[in-house]
């Protein structure tokens, strides 16, 4: 990445502010501005404030943006509002000193790698209030914020171990590369395992190349240079899985990073990224596509249940609609109640920060209420950090929609 290249990218994002007609639709949908006056709103800090920035960021209130991307999604004029905000926030963080906390939680692989060998201790530490209080004081993680649960093995380890025992038949539908993301690798093996098993059930030969972090947490905390390194490495990792093979992901935010954000926010214009991004498909998007083509086996076991489902902001930014709802309702007896809420408040790592925790909980409140009203046992959401947020706030077990499909196919 040359300096000129970054400039060009920033200029393009900046140029999109020309489309803003001040209709303010973005501010009506912003989940953060709805709950606190501390955030002036996406139009204000985005296309409006950008005209006043001259290298220098003087408006620290921009840091209240959670990067959920709703503003860009709903803008009828095509302004890259969230991307402008991310760039400005990145500049601001470079200007000021990045808090140690943002550097730690941004390095998910580091955190996962550090926690895995000592999982019982780590889980104990994260579950114990006094230790969390110290963590809050020292590094600014809110004591009540959801933290991932570490496992003693990784998904990669599971894939390797099952090796021979896994179904050996070559997929009738051909190969597919699975991009699991850090969460499924370190914290939520279940999602990864079930995704692989459903894909195999459908007749795919699933390839799971060794892969690192996409860099999204770094990016949303304004650490752009490091994020670019991570995403480039990941692109190379995934390409080892083979040429022209579709890549499927069950992690909406990491998928979105490869599909869109690495280019639109980090300015990575490598053809390798375009190749991977172009092949990337969300697991539920894939299932709906198969359904539309008439090739999805729909011999689902009936389940008489109404489930609350929160399509996360990061999924919406894929621009694929809400495929999970339609797919899940193919299961006889399943009724899906969409949350109708823009964001759970977590937005990646926003909600774990001490100064943002209350805002994040207020953002998520309508969602938590809706979940509790709909089903106290089980809720659905495509994004891992949002699942942790919903679970922590409501006590309702929250899983990826693939879990239900897995069950309906009789795989669990």
């Amino acid at each position: 990445m040359t300096i000129e290249h970054t400039h060009e990218h920033e200029q393009l994002m900046r140029a999109s502010l020309d489309h803003c007609v001040k209709c303010t639709i973005c501010e009506t949908q912003c989940p953060v501005a709805a709950v606190t006056p501390l955030f002036p709103g996406p139009k204000f800090v985005g296309p409006q404030a950008e005209r006043y920035r001259h290298g220098l960021s003087v408006d620290h209130s921009i840091d209240y943006c959670s990067s959920c991307g709703t503003c860009t999604l709903v803008c009828p004029q095509g302004v890259h509002i969230a991307e402008l905000n991310s760039l400005a926030r990145g500049a601001m963080k470079q200007q000021n000193n990045m808090p140690f906390r943002d550097q730690i939680i941004s390095r998910t692989t580091l955190m996962g790698a550090v926690m895995t060998p000592v999982a019982p201790v780590a889980n104990w530490a994260l579950g114990v209030k006094p230790i969390r209080v110290i963590a809050e004081k020292v590094i600014g993680l809110h004591r009540n914020a959801p933290m991932p649960t570490a496992h003693t093995q990784t998904l990669q380890g599971w894939v390797k171990r099952r090796g021979a025992s896994a179904p050996a038949k070559p997929g009738s539908r051909g190969k597919i590369i699975y991009f699991h993301g850090c969460a499924a690798n370190y914290f939520e093996l279940e999602t990864g395992q079930k995704t692989i098993e459903v894909l195999e059930h459908l007749g795919y030969e699933v390839i799971v190349p060794k892969q690192g972090c996409c860099g999204l947490p770094l990016q949303s905390n304004g650490l752009f240079d490091a994020a670019r390194k991570y995403v480039r490495k990941l692109v190379a990792d995934l390409r080892t899985g083979g040429k022209d093979i579709p890549i499927v992901s069950a992690s909406t935010s990491c998928g979105s990073m490869l599909k869109r954000e690495a280019e639109e926010i980090l300015g990575v214009a490598d053809p390798e990224l375009a190749d991977v991004g172009g092949r990337m498909v969300d697991i539920m998007e894939l299932l709906l596509k198969l359904h539309d083509e008439g090739t999805l086996p729909e011999d689902f076991a009936p389940m008489d249940v109404t489930l609350p489902y929160h399509p996360p902001c990061q999924l919406k930014s894929h621009g694929i609609g809400v495929p999970a709802t339609e797919v899940l309702e193919l299961i006889p007896g399943v009724k899906i109640k969409e949350s109708g809420v823009a964001c759970c408040g977590m937005a990646g790592t926003y909600g774990i920060k001490k100064e943002k925790y209350d805002v994040a909980m207020a953002v998520g409140k309508p969602l938590f209420d809706m979940v509790l009203e709909t089903n106290k046992e089980l809720a659905l959401c495509d994004s891992e950090t949002c699942r942790w947020q919903i679970e922590t706030a409501t006590g309702v077990r929250t899983v990826h929609p693939i879990t239900i499909i897995h069950k309906a196919y009789g795989l669990s």
């Binding site: 639709i25 949908q29 709903v74 004029q77 621009g319 609609g321």
Partner: protein, 414 residues
């Protein structure tokens, strides 16, 4: 392959999609962002000025002689049926008679003709001898009750007579610690019964005998009982006056229609701009969207373009003055220069009449009158020939063309 792809999420796009889905068709609605309903005033205009003030909008539709006007394709009865279709989709939301315009006060105190109005605005109808108390909210910068009241009071009514109006401003705290609260944040606050009680307590001391109370249109966003609750507590008729965008009444309608569309099975995909299309001769086979950096095809048997005009950017005038339709590159009517003139308060700006021409089935046609594609239909603000905002004809055109386009696809056109 979907039965239909509808592009755009304003009145015309949503209503077309709902009508098709309710008839059992598979429909995908593609939209770049949230549609324009909340940019408008929340009433259903049919025909307000032609250019004189219209009292019977349906008669005015029937009297259209300009073949280039969208209403040339409709009878008044058909427009009325389309408007009623919307009213039935959203029961208890609107009141009024498509055949009779009422005058409502605007946020600068002008008398604005419209046909169907949200129930929360109905008590504002301007009639001879009416007495108004217009109430401003100190933290809401888009509503100045003195401006409304004094302009109302000095305006002679079209049929003779006048009204009297007083103004008062109360300091209602929509959000603690904020001097500049948006209309929506006021509305969110008024979803809470406690806040409604506080507002009522502030207004009540100012009431005088025989007055109706006009408030800015921020009386609740999700709680449909908010307006009636305030009215009941005040014990006098209360009405809402629409504000510049983003307008709360439009937001309510937009949310309701979007929910209806989803409930009817429409696949609503936000954040997608249509960038290309595929065709087999003069039959469209699908459209291509740019979603998250990659191009995705949506195959469809019929396509409806309901993008709006210049306001959405789908009609685009470049720096040389050339106008193009950005989605399909469709031929445009009324696009010859000069499209603007310097007399701001003068004749219509020709710019606003640019759009696509259609046949009676709402199929987009070229200058030869032949359909560009046999299965491409248009509805709403993209249609050529109307100055929607000056005429106050936007919703009527949107609904009539939406219903017609849907019915053509359903094979039920006349």
């Amino acid at each position: 392959m979907r039965d239909a792809v509808v592009i755009g999420a304003g009145f015309s796009g949503l209503v077309t999609a709902i009508r098709l889905a309710k008839a059992g068709r598979t429909v995908t609605l593609l939209t770049k962002g949230i549609g324009g309903i909340q940019l408008g005033q929340g009433t259903i205009d049919i025909f307000g000025y032609n250019p004189d003030r219209v009292t019977d909008p349906l008669a005015a539709v029937d009297a259209i002689t300009d073949g280039g006007h969208p209403y040339a394709h409709f009878s008044g009865t058909e427009v009325a049926a389309a408007v009623r279709y919307l009213a039935e989709l959203l029961p208890d939301v609107f009141v009024g008679d498509p055949a009779r315009n009422v005058l409502l006060p605007t946020a600068v105190g002008a008398l604005r003709p419209t046909a169907l109005v949200p129930t929360s605005m109905a008590a504002g109808e301007v009639t001879d001898g009416k007495k108004y108390l217009i109430v401003g909210l100190a933290r809401l910068k888009d509503f100045y009750p003195g401006l409304v009241a004094e302009n109302l009071g000095r305006t002679p009514l079209p049929g003779g007579g006048s009204v009297t109006a007083r103004a008062v401003t109360v300091d209602f705290v929509a959000r603690e610690g904020e001097a500049d609260s948006t209309g929506l944040n006021h509305a969110r606050a008024l979803d809470d019964p406690d806040n409604r009680r506080k507002l009522v307590a502030l207004v009540k001391p100012h009431l005088a005998e025989g007055e109706v109370v006009g408030l800015p249109a921020v009386l609740g966003i999700h709680d449909t009982a908010a307006w009636t609750d305030i009215q009941t507590q005040l014990g006098v008729p209360v009405f809402e006056i629409p504000l510049p965008p983003p307008g709360v009444p439009g937001m309510r309608i937009n949310e309701a229609l979007t929910r209806l569309a989803k409930d009817a099975g429409v696949r609503v995909i936000v954040g997608n701009r249509v960038v290309d299309h595929a065709a087999d001769g003069t039959t469209l086979t699908g459209v291509v969207v740019n979603s998250a950096g990659s191009k995705t095809g949506h195959a469809a048997k019929a396509v409806v373009i309901a993008t709006g005009g210049f306001e959405s950017g789908n009609l685009h005038m470049d720096s040389y003055g050339t106008v193009t339709e950005k989605t399909f590159g469709l031929p445009l009517a009324n696009a010859e220069a000069p499209l603007v003139h310097g007399d701001y308060w003068g004749a219509d700006q020709p710019l606003f009449k640019v759009g696509v021409a259609v046949d009676d089935a709402m199929r987009v046609v070229g200058s030869d009158g032949a359909p560009v594609f046999g299965n491409l239909y248009a509805a709403g603000g993209i249609l050529a020939g109307a100055t929607r905002w000056r005429e106050k004809s936007g919703e009527g055109i949107a609904l009539a063309s939406a219903v017609r386009a849907a019915d053509s696809i359903l094979g039920e056109a006349r």
